[in-house]
Symmetry: C2
Subunit: 199 residues, 2 copies
């Protein structure tokens, strides 16, 4: 379970897309949500669209790794699909914030790798939030506040990568993923291989 978090505007979504496009062994975790499906979205691909009652049942039955309410709707990560994928040797990418990361890590510390992406400077972060927003200075300030709150949790991550160049940042995140796959504890076939070597 490969978690990417960052304040918005630091490039996490771009890096996620690059990772998913370039690596057939990792897939995006599909969240469950109570929000209505939007035109163009596919149930089971963009989200698992569920009723509030079904979502509550999943929370109650501990079927979610992490969940959060954002405004009027709930979002969460169903365990079953991820667990089956992990057992089959697949990796999953999580594009979640510090709260989701804390919950996920609490539930399964062994299988989680946490990567935090930082913008190269405060000025660049402001510039990106302004470029995106086209909104009032109040809205921008509130986005800056959210970004600061997210950044303040940088110490809850295993790796920190500064995104001053998107290709360099992607290369670094890819190196982290590649290295984590070489961790002894993640190589399930190793014990048989070693037994064969020592025959």
């Amino acid at each position: 379970m490969f978690i990417l978090s960052s304040p918005s505007g630091a490039g996490k979504t771009t890096i996620s897309h690059m990772l998913l496009a370039g690596d057939p062994e990792i897939s995006l975790s599909v969240s469950a949500t109570t929000r209505p499906i939007r035109p163009g979205e596919v149930d089971g691909q963009d989200y698992h669209f569920v009723t509030q009652a079904e979502f509550d049942r999943m929370v109650e039955a501990d079927e979610l790794y992490e969940w959060a309410r954002v405004f009027d709707h709930c979002y969460g990560t169903p365990k079953a699909e991820i667990r089956a994928g992990l057992r089959a040797g697949r990796d999953f990418l999580f594009d979640i914030d510090w709260q989701g990361t804390q919950q996920l890590f609490q539930k399964d510390q062994q299988d989680v790798v946490r990567v935090f992406i930082l913008p190269p400077s405060l000025e660049e972060l402001q510039r990106r939030l302004i470029a995106r927003a086209q909104d009032s200075s109040e809205v921008i300030e509130s986005r800056m506040e959210r970004a600061r709150a997210e950044i303040s949790h940088w110490d809850g991550y295993d790796y920190v990568v500064v995104n001053d160049d998107v290709d360099a940042c992607f290369a670094k995140v890819s190196q982290i993923l590649a290295a984590e796959r070489m961790k002894r504890a993640r190589q399930t076939g190793l014990i048989g291989f070693v037994r064969e070597l020592m025959r």
Copy 2:
């Protein structure tokens, strides 16, 4: 402190040389030894050549990260030089066996990354040991025994890499080194950088 271990014949020395040649930020840890200097060797570069009395004093004063007696001579890793280098942000490569790795890890778990290189197959390991040895079958069998003993400690390492192709193996080991440098806990300048971002 980046440790590479492997049974002899698995390519560790080649990989070490490639790493040292390609990366100016890592240097080989220079061991202290009681064995006599050989023609062509440079004191302080190949080894720190010391007397047995001096070596004993270093052991007694806990000035070595790890040490071992091999036949008639002692070999060990002086702490002072490594510590000063680490403080200055340098990395050190250790080409040591499982016993040295255990000792080093015991002394400083935080700063140690342990990588184990495995040969691609038993047949290939045998082939390499025979090609090298040009020795009696007894000598070869004793080398195989030492290789098996080394391999049996694969579970004391953070990463395991199979060397079926030296360039691919080098690329993997380099990825591990790069990823480890991105670990939050190893990036000493990060806290100031984050403070600046949240200004």
